[in-house]
């Protein structure tokens, strides 16, 4: 017994910082996810010519909290014929995998729980892929046809698109020469150019594959509400359902972070090596000030006193963040924190843009059919990504031969990308030609 206590103490002494960080993430992430959902609803409303949530708090700013409370106090329904143990386990698995993946991410150079892990990005990708068990087992345990079909679709989809995503990651890793997240970003700093520009085709492939992996529209077949009611989530309610929801949005954040780290320069500002563009550093505080001023302007229009106060508080928060962002540039005492603070901003900013793109697609595009999705994955994305790895590899060899660095590497990689594009168009053209024949007797759905 004493030994165990001693070991625990030792463990805590050695790892207290990541432990605290982990607890903070587990505590704060649901809130963040709640607000991501609110932002999504607001963006959706904006695109659909309506207002979205407006009732709870000014402009619906407290809606996520109301939703969370509602979900927590809802009745917890377990279907009679469900496999109780698995039914209980499945949502937990989903969330656990998603949250664990966050541990490997680096939000700016200063904020990373699992620091300097040798396998960095592989850890994130591998662990987040485990969330699929939550979906598959949940769908099976519900003992419902809709759930089962949703689960089957989900696993088939994930296995298919994982390959393409992995190949796209390989392209980025070729440039970085390391799996370690800090080294990857450092490599982009050394090159002075984002890998997304060096390998646009890989970035595109990862973009598509990541949408498919997170089950977002237009690849949201596992939960296609018009076909499968809610897919694997059909039988889940209340808290369990919200766990799935949490996992889905956390996964979105994870894939966006991976893409940001590998293709969009992580926490680096645009053009990190170009000194005369340093005024870009003032963009973050200015943006926050802008949002704050907007909130101030909207304050008198709020109908109720409480809402006015709340709006003022939001404005104050924005100004405070702006202050924090501007401090490292003006106050010499906090100068060492410059990279950490601004890096965190840029990282979150890029992740937000990536997620915004996800949402934009969701409200614009119809949904793929399952066989079309599979054909897209196997006949288009996977060949394209494999060819792209080959081409990028050749481009890199040529680049090393001519001692090309940074932006001049584009000389070799852009022809590679153009060739890849031509091949992509070629594949698409042949696909289209063969489509009419297949339509009458479409291939096996799980082929």
């Amino acid at each position: 017994m004493q030994a165990v206590t001693q070991a625990t103490l030792e463990f805590v002494k050695q790892y207290w910082a990541p432990l605290v960080c982990g607890l903070v993430i587990v505590g704060v992430l649901p809130l963040i996810v709640g607000y991501v959902v609110l932002v999504e609803r607001k963006i959706m409303a904006d695109m659909q010519a309506r207002l979205g949530p407006m009732r709870v708090g000014p402009h619906g700013l407290l809606q996520p909290i109301a939703d969370a409370v509602k979900l927590l106090i809802k009745e917890d329904i377990i279907p009679e014929d469900a496999d109780k143990l698995v039914f209980w386990l499945a949502p937990v698995l989903s969330v656990a995998a998603a949250l664990l993946a966050i541990a490997g991410l680096a939000i700016g150079p200063a904020f990373q729980i699992a620091k300097d892990v040798n396998i960095g990005i592989l850890f994130v990708v591998g662990v987040s892929a485990m969330g699929i068990f939550g979906i598959v087992l949940g769908g099976w345990a519900s003992n419902s046809h809709y759930s089962l079909i949703g689960a089957l679709r989900s696993s088939a989809q994930l296995v298919s698109y994982e390959t393409a995503a992995g190949m796209a990651l390989v392209c980025g890793l070729l440039f970085a020469g390391s799996l370690n997240i800090t080294s990857i970003v450092q490599a982009q700093y050394d090159q002075g150019v984002w890998f997304g520009l060096l390998a646009p085709v890989a970035f595109f492939t990862y973009l598509v594959a990541s949408i498919a992996e997170t089950n977002r529209a237009p690849f949201d077949l596992p939960e296609a509400e018009s076909e499968l009611v809610a897919g694997y989530m059909t039988e889940f309610s209340g808290f369990r359902w919200s766990l799935y929801f949490l996992a889905e949005y956390t996964n979105m954040i994870v894939v966006a972070s991976v893409a940001t780290t590998l293709f969009l320069g992580g926490w680096l500002r645009p053009f990190p090596r170009t000194t005369w563009l340093s005024f870009i550093d003032f963009f973050p505080p200015l943006l926050m000030v802008g949002i704050g001023v907007y909130c101030l302007m909207r304050t008198p229009k709020q109908p109720v006193r409480v809402q006015q106060t709340f709006m003022l508080a939001v404005a104050g928060l924005c100004f405070a963040v702006a202050l924090v962002l501007v401090a490292p540039m003006l106050v010499p005492a906090v100068k060492p924190l410059h990279d950490g603070i601004l890096g965190a901003f840029w990282f979150i900013f890029k992740v937000s843009l990536y997620i915004y793109f996800f949402m934009w697609l969701r409200f614009t595009l119809p949904r793929y059919r399952f066989d079309q999705l599979m054909r897209l994955g196997w006949h288009f994305l996977i060949p394209l990504s494999i060819i792209n790895v080959l081409l990028i590899g050749i481009a890199m060899i040529v680049g090393t031969y001519f001692h090309l660095q940074g932006w001049s590497l584009l000389l070799t990689t852009s022809p590679a990308s153009i060739i890849a594009l031509i091949i992509a168009l070629f594949i698409l053209a042949t696909e289209q030609k063969s489509e009419p024949q297949k339509s009458s007797a479409a291939p096996d759905s799980y082929a």
């Binding site: 018009s226 595009l365 793929y368």
Partner: protein
């Protein structure tokens, strides 16, 4: 059950693996069965190898009710069949009874009826477009469609006070004359509508995913469509140029110029294109009609108590969803002896099994959407 012989060898293989065919009960509570349609699907994996539509969940006995109401009393009931196209339902009923009474509505009434009915066609098609796109996964068109539909419903509201179940017409003409700014309102709507339709087409028509989801899905050949009694856009998309507005003109349709759009293959995409074009044509009819609304009375001379002479009559109009027919038998009393309604949705739904076989579950949803059924009308 010709299907069974072809799938026999396959079935055996499936049993060896132990994976049986799945019977999936879609509906009556399902997000995309457009109300309370229940479809029993026999699935092989996700492929449909057989289907059965089960209806009746919204049965209210409308036809039986008619036998216990006077002719005027029954008129509001027909609004509740196809509740997204109440004006068209009302028009068909009123014209059938007028035929039975051998009276004719005055010209002014006829033109206003035409305007409102065509607006209703646009509204009905808009609702169809929104929900159909939503079924296929495009969330946004629904809200745009509702925005435009709202304008039309506002015109109805200004005209008769009701938005959905309008009861806009009376037997023999109209109860209310057109309000002062009706022409202006309709014109404003029609002007604004043209670019809006283009917006929807931008979102969908050339979209790769939309094409993939609709082209070649749910093909109904012209012969099949006629054999199954399909009418309306479903029939026209198969390439049959049949529109009662042209074939047997009623109301004021003989005065206006318009095209009948037809498809070629009879797949879901063709039906989509046909309905989109129909909205444009309806808009043109409205624009033509408001240019010259004749003055004069709005109600023909019909008594307060309607006692049609004994006899029977069948009158059909081109409702947004197809041929809407009323077969009315009078025995000379104030109540009809029998009213039989031929609802387009009910008959079009017959084609479902033919269209769905061999497709995937996702296509079933698209096919239900493309048939544009309203369960209030199917079940009556």
């Amino acid at each position: 059950m010709a299907m069974d012989t072809t799938t026999d060898s396959r079935d055996k293989q499936q049993t060896l693996l132990g994976a049986d065919e799945l019977v999936l009960n879609m509906g009556p509570q399902h997000p995309s069965t457009h109300g309370v349609l229940r479809v029993k699907l026999k699935l092989d994996g996700e492929r449909v190898i057989g289907s059965e539509c089960m209806i009746g969940y919204l049965h209210r006995g409308v036809e039986k009710i008619a036998e216990h109401r006077t002719y005027q009393q029954f008129a509001p009931y027909v609004d509740r069949m196809d509740y997204v196209a109440a004006v068209s339902n009302g028009l068909g009923y009123c014209e059938a009874i007028e035929k039975l009474l051998m009276v004719e509505a005055p010209p002014r009434a006829k033109v206003i009826r035409t305007i409102l009915t065509e607006l209703q066609r646009i509204a009905s098609h808009l609702l169809w477009l929104g929900t159909h796109a939503l079924d296929i996964g495009a969330l946004t068109p629904l809200f745009y469609c509702f925005r435009e539909r709202e304008e039309i419903l506002k015109i109805f509201e200004k005209y008769c006070g009701a938005r959905l179940t309008t009861h806009a017409f009376r037997i023999g003409g109209l109860q209310y004359d057109a309000y002062d700014t009706l022409e202006k309102d309709v014109e404003r709507f029609c002007k604004a509508f043209e670019p809006r339709i283009k917006d929807y087409e931008d979102l969908l028509t050339q979209n790769r995913i939309w094409l993939g989801r609709t082209k070649g899905v749910g093909i109904l050949t012209a012969a099949d469509a006629i054999a199954l009694g399909a009418t309306g856009p479903v029939l026209r998309a198969s390439g049959v140029k049949w529109d009662i507005r042209k074939a047997m003109p009623y109301a004021a349709y003989d005065q206006y110029k318009f095209e009948i759009p037809v498809g070629s293959t009879g797949d879901t995409y063709d039906r989509y294109m046909v309905r989109m074009e129909e909205m444009r044509q309806s808009r043109l009819i409205c624009l033509q009609a408001i240019e010259n609304i004749p003055t004069g009375p709005i109600l023909a001379k019909v008594g307060k108590v309607l006692k049609p002479p004994p006899g029977e009559v069948y009158h059909a109009i081109e409702a947004p969803k197809g041929e809407l027919g009323y077969y009315v038998i009078s025995d000379g009393t104030v109540q009809p002896y029998r009213v039989r309604i031929r609802p387009p949705s009910f008959v079009n739904l017959q084609a479902f099994d033919k269209m769905a076989r061999g497709h995937l579950v996702a296509d079933v949803v698209a096919i239900i959407g493309t048939l544009d059924i309203v369960l209030g009308e199917v079940d009556r």
